[in-house]
Amino acid sequence: MTTLAPVDAAASGPAPVPLSHRPDHRGSWIPTWGMVATRFMELRRRKGLMITLLAVNIGLPVVFLAFRLIAHAVDPKSYGPAGGYSIFTTLVAGVLFIFGFIVAATVGCTAGSVDLTEGMFRHLVITGRSRLALYLARIPAGLAIVLPIVAVGFAIVCTVCILAAPTQLNYDGTKVPAGLSQPALDSWATAHADEVICNFGLDIGPNSDLLQVVNSVNCGNGNGPGIKIGPGATTTAPVSHAQVEAAARQIANLDYYDYHRNFLEPPTHLIIDSGLWVLLEATIGFVVGLGLASLMGQRTVPVILMIVLEVILTPVLSRTVIPHLINAQRGIVGLAMSHLEPAGLPSPFGGNGQSGQIMLVPESRTVAVCVIVGWLVVWTALGAWRMVTRDA
């Protein structure tokens, strides 16, 4: 038998350690401001991550727009304006949406795994702070990094697309005013019927009603109308001026969709909607990446999985209806985000028809919202659960 007697120090009574501690609610699941701030600092000081984030969300649009600005300034006939509606929609749906998601997911995966891989998780658990609070502190900290950068990239795109939008459209020498409504364009076409017929590019078949009219117009310099005429076309007697004006209106009407899409600067409501949409996508990327990395306890594989989800799985499964799996397809967050896309933007995952209609797996907006909320909640819950139950 061994007797455990009090040692000298204990027997003489230890000097009490000053009780300078105030109640700090460290068992609470709500993170403190200090936890969020220091987590923000930890992420912000990762140079490689920050450079990637800035390069993709700000660098890519800036380089693209700068090239367009310079090219247009040097050779305006070959290179169109740097801004405008078309450029805006292309950059928002094609760059900011997809790359914003991927970079946000990378930040999320980093935030969700580095404490484990770098050995800090154990130190943090030993503080006695609620593990749930430790997890939740990462969400505002990460979003405070991701969202401003995405917003800055978006703001740059908006600024250039508005300021560098063309004030008038040049159809092979014919200058059309900006921002006309369809009736106004009809009126303008009536007043400039010969120019419309000669210079508006429109492909009509040999049996078109317009054929007789367009062939009657003299475009000068031996050139025929800008309208392409199919093989086998024949010409007939001269037509009246009223017929020419009617044909010009008809051509303007047929061209209005392209005119409307490509000519105007992006409207305010589209800018606001698009901005919120892109920020929501980045938020989803971050939260899902955070949860997935926390669940797996590493960064590399979750990042790869997130890229595969965004670049391969979502485009394929959003456009192909698989009858027995259609409900599973509707559960894809990228598809849900496509259904919440502001009207006027091309689908980020392709699938636009010739008329601009999106051909995606059908889903109501209500279901889309539920899917998005579900992804945010489920991945947060999974990540937090693993954080709480993991051996440190």
């Binding site: 061994t2 455990l4 030993i126």
Partner: protein
């Protein structure tokens, strides 16, 4: 082995009698029992060594105590707070290093401590500079941790422990990676912390360091605590070794056989070594000398070898090996 609580220490500031108390604590990893029915009592206000060979379950026990992994059975408390039920209250006054201390390499030592302080009470932030100075890291606190040596990380780990103004520090192999001067500094720091009334529990396999630093120890082997108590008491219960250098070792052994009950005599090339019962008095040693001289054997040297923690540890563990 039974542990009797002969004299329970007085309650500490939080009302508990023991800094660490476990009963029947068990942790398994599959079929391997890493912590096996451990009964451990660490008095307040002392340096307590938790000794054992590699793989004995020292780190696992610490991880269980700190809530880093769950126990499969048993109960435990830190500073009088039952764990895991009152884990937050318990860990609020505990600082610990488990395994090798690792930090975010891209941040400075101070920034790492800021992260840890933010997870503690607001006052912890004000202790950062003091903690860094105390471990001798004040000058290097604004360097990135990736540039730190192992010893500097170890010291930063101790600084992290001090952020919570702890009553109990649990240090897992704190001497690892330290040079002799660093070990001396660490030893002085531990003793200083104990002088302030804090309890330091350290695990180690460096017996000499533990003997110099600790007041009490527990020996763990294959997950079980096999002995615990103050070092003085434990060593006083070990055999007394007397080395005798003489002219005729074989004759000396024959002379002493039967004259010293309970003694073992080993014949060595230039003498004999006697292992006497723990309570052997000094007069027995004089008797050995008298018997040998009267038997016509020249005695060149007769030395009582003080029992060390190392020799005692080896004695205990070798006995265990024999019994198993």
């Amino acid at each position: 082995m039974t542990t009797a609580l002969a004299d329970r220490p007085t309650a500490g500031p939080t009302g508990s009698e023991w800094a660490v108390e476990t009963h029947g604590l068990t942790k398994r990893f599959g079929g391997n029992v890493a912590v096996d029915d451990v009964e451990l009592l660490v008095p307040r206000g002392c340096a307590f060594g938790y000794l054992g060979p590699n793989g004995a379950g020292k780190t696992t026990l610490i991880r269980v105590l700190l809530g880093l992994t769950r126990a499969d059975a048993g109960s435990m408390s830190l500073l009088g707070h039952a764990v895991p039920d009152h884990r937050a209250e318990a860990l609020a006054r505990v600082g610990a290093i488990v395994d090798e201390p690792r930090f975010h390499g891209h941040l400075t030592g101070r920034q790492n401590l800021q992260i840890l302080a933010a997870a503690r009470e607001p006052a912890a932030r004000e202790r950062i500079s003091g903690a860094l100075d105390r471990v001798g890291m004040g000058q290097r606190s604004d360097d990135k941790v990736s540039k730190y040596s192992m010893g500097m990380r170890q010291r930063l780990g101790v600084a992290a422990c001090l952020l919570g103004d702890p009553q109990l520090l649990i240090l897992d192999e704190p001497m690892n990676g330290l040079d002799p001067a660093g070990m001396q500094e660490m030893r002085d720091m531990i003793l200083g912390l104990v002088d302030e009334g804090r309890t330091v529990m350290l695990s180690s396999h460096l017996l000499d360091e533990v003997e110099r630093t600790c007041n009490a120890v527990a020996i763990v082997d294959r997950g079980r605590v096999i002995r615990q108590g103050s070092i003085h008491d434990l060593l006083s219960g070990s055999s007394v070794r007397v080395e005798v250098e003489c002219s005729d070792p074989a004759a000396a052994s024959a002379l002493l056989s039967g004259r010293l009950p309970g003694a073992d005599c080993e014949v060595e090339p230039d003498g004999i070594a006697l292992l006497l019962p723990p309570d052997t008095g000094r007069d027995v040693i004089a008797e050995v000398n008298r018997v040998l001289v009267e038997g016509g054997i020249s005695v060149y040297r007769l030395q009582l070898v003080q029992a060390s923690l190392e020799s005692w540890f080896l004695q205990v563990t070798s006995r265990l090996g024999e019994s198993s």
